[in-house]
């Protein structure tokens, strides 16, 4: 249905069209969860929340018509202080900060989603969630990371990626050789052959290098440090490194096929993403 002149458009539609992904309201302080089934019917319970934040993409929020009547929202929740550093560093898949939430300890729990009718949203007092597009983009990125990240097998995460992550973090100053090596890598990806569900999985790492002008050290230095770290992995049963164990490639050197066959490693979610 086109915006504007139709007499069948609801009167709250103009208010709806102000809403954006990441915007919040504290008018609604409850989310609905289903805790069971009785006699074939769902058992709904209302769970306390500080407010709601819009998770649906903006284009899906503002469009109205058949099968476009609903919007996904997440509760705003208050977290204890000891969790906040992890949330603010982007290390927690389920929680992400909202810039204009009532307080810094109130974050979006994007692991709990609820669907509400757009009229409910339109009639609620709206607070812009973010002050600029960068903030909105970070929120959208958090949602896509939560629901789009590849789930590596637990053994691979625990015994390969987690130790590798510790070595990469290491106790090295930012201007160290190791820092220069890993800042020359724009992304780390892995390929499993024949597939992650196989009994015996060969794993190869693809380290995507920045373009030449952004490299902070030489390729052979990068290869040397990476090889040293990968050689220390104690591979769990069912997994082994490919031969060669890793490749260094710029995007220009990588084929689309190689890209599609590989999965990115989200290092920050390795600990929390299980």
């Amino acid at each position: 249905m086109q915006p504007g002149s139709s007499s069948t458009e609801p009167e709250w539609l103009p208010a709806l069209r102000l809403w954006r992904q990441g915007d919040l309201t504290t008018d609604i302080r409850q989310t609905v969860v289903v805790s069971g089934i009785e006699n074939g019917d769902l058992v709904p319970e209302g769970e306390e929340a500080v407010g709601l934040v819009v998770v649906s993409q903006t284009c899906d929020v503002v469009n109205w018509g058949a099968d476009k009547e609903w919007v996904a929202v997440a509760p705003l929740v208050e977290l204890p202080d000891n969790l906040l550093p992890y949330v603010l560093s982007g290390s927690t898949p389920n929680w992400t900060p909202v810039e204009n939430s009532p307080s810094q300890s109130v974050v979006a729990n994007i692991g709990h989603l609820m669907t509400i009718h757009k009229s409910v949203l339109a009639r609620s007092a709206r607070t812009p969630g973010f002050n600029d597009e960068q903030g909105q983009a970070r929120f959208a990125d958090a949602i896509s990371r939560k629901y789009g990240r590849f789930a590596f097998p637990d053994d691979f995460s625990n015994f390969v990626l987690e130790p590798l992550k510790r070595r990469i973090r290491g106790a090295h100053p930012k201007d160290s050789d190791q820092g220069r090596v890993y800042r020359s890598i724009s992304e780390c990806r892995v390929v499993a052959s024949p597939g992650w569900n196989s009994d015996e999985v060969s794993v190869g790492f693809r380290f995507i290098l920045h373009p030449q002008e952004r490299l902070e050290t030489s390729r052979d230095k990068i290869a040397s440090v990476v090889a040293e770290h990968l050689n220390k992995i104690d591979w769990p049963t069912g997994f082994r490194p490919e031969e060669p164990a890793f490749m260094l490639q710029t995007l220009a050197e990588m084929t689309a096929e190689e890209w599609v066959q590989s999965h990115p490693i989200d290092w920050q979610f390795i600990s929390f993403g299980r």
Partner: protein, 225 residues
């Protein structure tokens, strides 16, 4: 006789133009102007391509082999070789086409599965062989070498003249690329580099959290539609 064996055109004796024909480089055939039916030449001719064709075609001699031009069914994977050349050198399709001696559109058609003439297949394969030979494993370094001058001539210029052996000799052999042949498998730049974010993140505190406060819940009445 290959085109490499001919002296430069300006050193050739005057030739009698017997017939002007259209040349279809993609099909490797000639078309008689009085008929749209293509035919293969079975004689050794020197063809001067007149204006109406690309500048490249107009300034180069296209020498036919004595035997009929074969259909370009190929045991050589031209698209794969072109992709490798492109990937190893960073050259654009325009540059690659110039080296191979055809138009950019022709090269593009090859990447879509279009058939290449035997002579063009040879040139692509020879170019690929030369690139693999000189490959330093670094696209920027490879490009630098190709654009560098050796005895007053760039490697690219030598390749355009099909002087592949001269290129190999001038540039030297690179380190064989350790291409993985892994089994068949069933950018957005953030403001901060992933490594910096990782090292600045707090240490993981698995199992060290205080339990989250339980949220109050109350039973709701389900209103049926």
């Amino acid at each position: 006789m290959s085109a490499d064996a001919l002296p430069p055109i300006e050193h050739l004796p005057p030739v009698q133009i017997v017939q002007e024909v259209d040349y279809d480089p993609e099909r490797g055939m000639f078309r008689e102007p009085t008929s749209n039916a293509p035919r293969r030449s079975s004689t050794l001719d020197v063809i001067v391509i007149y204006p109406g064709f690309s500048r490249t075609a107009a300034t180069k001699l296209d020498l036919l082999p004595q035997e009929p031009l074969p259909i370009a069914s190929s045991s050589v994977d031209i698209p794969a070789q072109l992709a490798s050349i492109k990937r190893m050198t960073g050259l654009g399709w325009e540059d690659i086409a110039s080296i191979v001696g055809c138009s950019r559109q022709t090269v593009h058609n090859w990447t879509l599965g279009g058939k290449a003439s035997a002579s063009h297949r040879d040139r692509v394969s020879s170019l690929y062989s030369a690139v693999v030979y000189i490959d330093r494993g670094d696209v920027d370094e490879n490009r630098r070498l190709l654009t560098s001058a050796f005895d007053g001539q760039t490697a690219i210029s030598m390749l355009q003249n099909a002087e592949y052996d001269r290129v190999k000799q001038a540039v030297g052999r690179g380190t064989p690329r350790n291409d993985a042949t892994w089994g068949v498998v069933e950018s957005n730049e953030t403001s901060k580099h992933w490594y910096d974010t990782l090292v600045e993140s707090p240490d993981a505190l698995e199992g060290d959290f205080a339990p989250l406060p339980t949220k109050a819940r109350k039973r709701l009445v389900l209103k049926k539609a």
